[in-house]
Symmetry: C2
Subunit: 255 residues, 2 copies
């Protein structure tokens, strides 16, 4: 029986979280520590200047415990491992299922994947799951199927804590999904549009919006896989060094 800590960035009430808990229970003991509201795009943020609250809000008939907190997804992992599990070793941290894509550079801003990376820093293997549908009542039928298959495989094979997995699931019916591709992050960027508005008092404000532009036509990327109806599984590191550039910067050691 595996011990599995689950969190997300859409908040404790989201359908994606409920779905992930249901599937994870097939594999072991589950504990949930989730944000008390949406924390999309909070990346690896942690809470240092505000006290963290932790509220045990529900227990299932089978004993599964649910906690919510005012913190970020990373805080949830820290609170889960240290306070709730009291350093009892977790076998796996799962994050999601996110309502919306975390492909390409969206990974960088993702609270879902922030939590997964955080877990690997504590040497706990971790997987973040995302469905390419932002709707709060999205259909998780296909996602549920692939979450189950991936958990089966990853618990059976020796699992690495060197990288977390960023799993993105296309928003198509189960029978349209062609399988799984192991991918790299597609190069791209968000082309922002700052929508300017004026408040009733005459003050200007901006809504950050935009669209993801992909500048990468590789066939080994998350974007390629998703566009071709494959589930994308991407290993994500927690060493952010650009190792290949180190030799080119050696001239700085002469200053």
């Amino acid at each position: 029986m595996a011990l599995i800590l689950i969190t997300n960035d859409d908040g404790y009430a989201s359908k994606g979280l409920r779905t992930l808990v249901e599937v994870a229970k097939e594999f072991g003991e589950v504990v949930v520590v989730a944000p008390d509201g949406p924390r999309s795009a909070t990346s690896h943020a942690i809470t240092m200047n505000t006290p963290l609250r932790l509220h045990h809000y529900h227990t299932d008939d089978d004993g599964t415990r649910y906690f919510r907190t005012n913190g970020t997804p990373c805080d949830c992992v820290k609170l889960g491992l240290r306070v709730v599990l009291k350093d009892r070793p977790a076998d796996l941290v799962l994050s999601g299922i996110n309502h919306g894509s975390n492909s390409s550079v969206s990974l960088i801003y993702s609270g879902t994947m922030g939590a997964a990376v955080e877990a690997t820093l504590s040497h706990v293997p971790a997987i973040g799951f995302s469905l390419l549908d932002y709707h709060p009542d999205a259909d998780f039928t296909a996602a549920r199927h692939y979450v189950r298959l991936i958990l089966q495989e990853m618990l059976r094979h020796p699992f690495t804590d060197e990288a977390s997995l960023n799993v993105n699931i296309p928003n198509v019916p189960l029978e349209a999904i062609k399988g799984v591709k192991v991918t790299r992050q597609a190069k791209g960027y968000w082309r922002e549009e700052m929508v300017e508005r004026t408040d009733p008092y005459g003050g200007k404000y901006y809504w950050l919006t935009g669209r993801l532009e992909i500048t990468d036509d590789g066939e080994d990327t998350c974007e390629w896989a998703l566009q071709h109806n494959y589930v994308s599984v991407q290993p994500v590191q927690n060493d952010f060094t650009h190792h290949a550039i180190i030799p080119q910067l050696k001239f700085l050691e002469e200053i």
Copy 2:
């Protein structure tokens, strides 16, 4: 004359920001867009569910403009490039000088470096500077010297937008600094202690604290450099794929 956008995560009123602006002015036209208060440990977080405000709060005699916003350091870069500079191409984004270290895994949580990585996604070269002193009135004499030298070199050499630079400066007098080392991220983790307290109404809350544990005795790391009184310059990527692990995960394509 270079066009330089400056931000930070300690907020618009910090001494580190003022110091960085003073040095950067020697190299070109400077525009400041900074958070309206501390945003430490906000990583790559962006603001999607709250409107962003942007207030032009000061102009220097030489015309340098200063803006502050309720957003994160990443939001500052987006607002700076899109709204303030109106897509006029910036030559460089600088972030800092942070009051405190961003070595080892602190890089992952760093708002200072979140802003720098954000800039490289828009193909603008970027450098984050951090001094290993958390004090609000820290002595930036040595930092100022090395910021100047690094800017001189990086504006002279063809500069990459493939990686931002994470520059950490030891907290010792200028004459004690031995030079610059180009480094990789030292492996480590934050050993958290969740300090538990009780509020006047009987409710529990937690302060997230802890200490950085380094599990890496390599002599090519940021930690080694800083402990030996070198300035650490580290290239940081915006592709978070763990490329080396991709072949080991290919079995997942069989499910």
